[in-house]
Symmetry: C3
Subunit: 316 residues, 3 copies
Amino acid sequence: MKLSNDTVKACKDGFETHTRYRKQLPGVIRKIVESCKDKQCFEHIGAQLIPSRQSVIEIIFRIREILFPGYFNTTEKLDSTNLYYQTGRSVDMLFEIFSEQMTLSFKHDCLRYDQPCVQCVKLGYEQALKFLESIPEIRQVLATDIRAAYEGDPAAKSYDEIVFSYPGIFAIMVYRIAHQLFQQEVPLIPRIMSEYAHSVTGIDIHPGAQIGESFFIDHGTGVVIGETSSIGKNVRIYQGVTLGALSLPKDAGDLLRGRKRHPTIEDEVIIYAGATILGGETIIGTRSVIGGNVWITESVLPDTRVILEAPRLIYK
Amino acid sequence: MKLSNDTVKACKDGFETHTRYRKQLPGVIRKIVESCKDKQCFEHIGAQLIPSRQSVIEIIFRIREILFPGYFNTTEKLDSTNLYYQTGRSVDMLFEIFSEQMTLSFKHDCLRYDQPCVQCVKLGYEQALKFLESIPEIRQVLATDIRAAYEGDPAAKSYDEIVFSYPGIFAIMVYRIAHQLFQQEVPLIPRIMSEYAHSVTGIDIHPGAQIGESFFIDHGTGVVIGETSSIGKNVRIYQGVTLGALSLPKDAGDLLRGRKRHPTIEDEVIIYAGATILGGETIIGTRSVIGGNVWITESVLPDTRVILEAPRLIYK
Amino acid sequence: MKLSNDTVKACKDGFETHTRYRKQLPGVIRKIVESCKDKQCFEHIGAQLIPSRQSVIEIIFRIREILFPGYFNTTEKLDSTNLYYQTGRSVDMLFEIFSEQMTLSFKHDCLRYDQPCVQCVKLGYEQALKFLESIPEIRQVLATDIRAAYEGDPAAKSYDEIVFSYPGIFAIMVYRIAHQLFQQEVPLIPRIMSEYAHSVTGIDIHPGAQIGESFFIDHGTGVVIGETSSIGKNVRIYQGVTLGALSLPKDAGDLLRGRKRHPTIEDEVIIYAGATILGGETIIGTRSVIGGNVWITESVLPDTRVILEAPRLIYK
């Protein structure tokens, strides 16, 4: 069979069109590569490899399997016989992956200060081990958080449902992991973790914040807890709550870096949806209740109930 | 070629460092395994396997392909000839995967009450089939939701854009699936589904809520619709709207479980961004319009327009 | 060894149960296929294949690797020697994938208007190339955005942390890509991109909005920037800010499509968390500062500071 002349022509045309456009690529590529020559834009050339965001996320999920044994590994049943072996294997693998990523983050940090890092591999092992040693404590604190969720949410059907599906628990778990790493002064990784949790839950907790046990966040979308916030025990907050800094002038970045800019929340406080509490010197006293949408920039005494004077509504 | 003594030494040092840290792992692992011995933290040992979150998410996407044929399968073109075969194949595969996950969720629920579940496999088949039978109805209701989106959003360019990319439609679709399963009293799976949609869209609709046809959520981030909310037909809501419970005392969880705690929204109501409506006895009457940021804890008569008295602004 | 009669019976029963349920599938499948016969629900039958959401997301990540060389490819180190080859390879592959998806989107658009599209393949090449040519400019604008983030956020530890983990930067990057495609009148793809970023960050920027350089969004969850918004240079906004349309009557969709419905924000403006600015004729003048939770539907002169008169709080 012979193809018709028309078919042959259409084929050729298609090929030629493709080629004609492809021939313009080298010029475009040259412009793209050179577009950064004047250093006005960001590239990461000649630098150390960076912790892989994908690996950091994988590390979160590996840690979660160890924190909540039997909940998230769905291929093998855990029982008292194999628990020890499974945990051993998980921790072993986590150590290898985590120390490697930590080494990358230390190396990257060294180069930023133009220093070579002969100790980075060792630092990676050391800090990974230090993190593993903190796991028993993290498990115990998380158990108090889960109980607080069950007590605080009438829609909770079981503890298992909370462990499985509550975004607040996921965000708090990632925060407790990231905060431990923040305290160990591991660069980059804590923030990559917290922004992953932010992305998944809409809850933005900076790894530097200090948060006591039995902490519950319900619904959670829009919650912001700033770097220097300090939160006591048995605190409960709802969606859209901000613990933030007072208004910042332009270029405030450098001036305020490292200073206490976010509020202190004492034990047993409840903060309802949409409330905003600002400023490093603001203290919300023990057992106080902050109503929905309240906007606070000054301290509140213990045992106070603060509610918005009902704004007048117009009914037409 | 012979390696220099320095190189050999560096190699050995590296190996020894690694080994030295690894030797500490067994001690750490023992502490981790034992850290839960007193049952103060959560593990899921010796229990039945649990529905896999990953499988539940896969099920959502398989159902979506059946609900909107031709929109989301991008490898094969659907036409009137193969529609029947493709749908048949998709439904068949969904039945197998879904009934398996349902069986796991029933088994898990049985064990929670310390009962054996001889019927769990059969229940899995039965409830998976029951769900499949509800698909035609879900398709029809979703079609009203998509039309409502097109009518309500001047930025919508086409119905296809809405089906493809609108987070509100995704959240409502997952809600309608999860609500059907909630009514069938399938454990765990509905809530895993709704929290997945919450994670993807920032829209948190509890599977227990009742929502009529032609429902539209625009933008949607921060929307919370509580478990016992009841919403009529042709309702439209915007980002940040909360249909919630009145303030809960500590330990309210057990007291209020199962009671009507969230509001009733009648037909044709519009609720603008950031409005909060609370309480199980609050009813928003037909055709009423609730303005942005309004905070309501009492019922509103039909045909009422409620707006915030413009708060005084200070201009400097 | 012979199986006991009971075991054999249990096996048979299991098999028969499965079969009994499976036999009901054909009836269910028929109903599902036919449930759309009256065209009351949405299907996409006999239509062109549609751009794959998964491919569009992959395209975003491929573009990001080119925009920020060395930051996101974690397997190979980039240096001045291989930068050119790596970029060349990345751009080459992007061209092929992107032009294919663009062709699909043009074909799909043609069929919507019942026109054949002989030019769609060529259009795909042409518009993919045009997009590639815009990359140097997008890189330069993004560099100003990253500097603005560092200056505006005291919690930022380094530029690298911002590039890696700031959701605001991700949302702005996707917006700048999608806006370029919106200007090239590429159908469907820009909106799929912006809804992906919305899903990941909680920040909803319509591709049609116009946004100047050095734009910073902090935290970001709940931000909504409508289709016809216009934003100047050096603007900074916080979580929960809405640039929206005034209230829309039912069925407003068709009436208002294409009209300017969203506000204009001039250079150097700061808008704090939760503020809502509505209406196509509303202009916020240069260097003005809009306080948290402020609700504005009228223009504000330059150099004005607008804050909410502190709502009265009730302390109990």
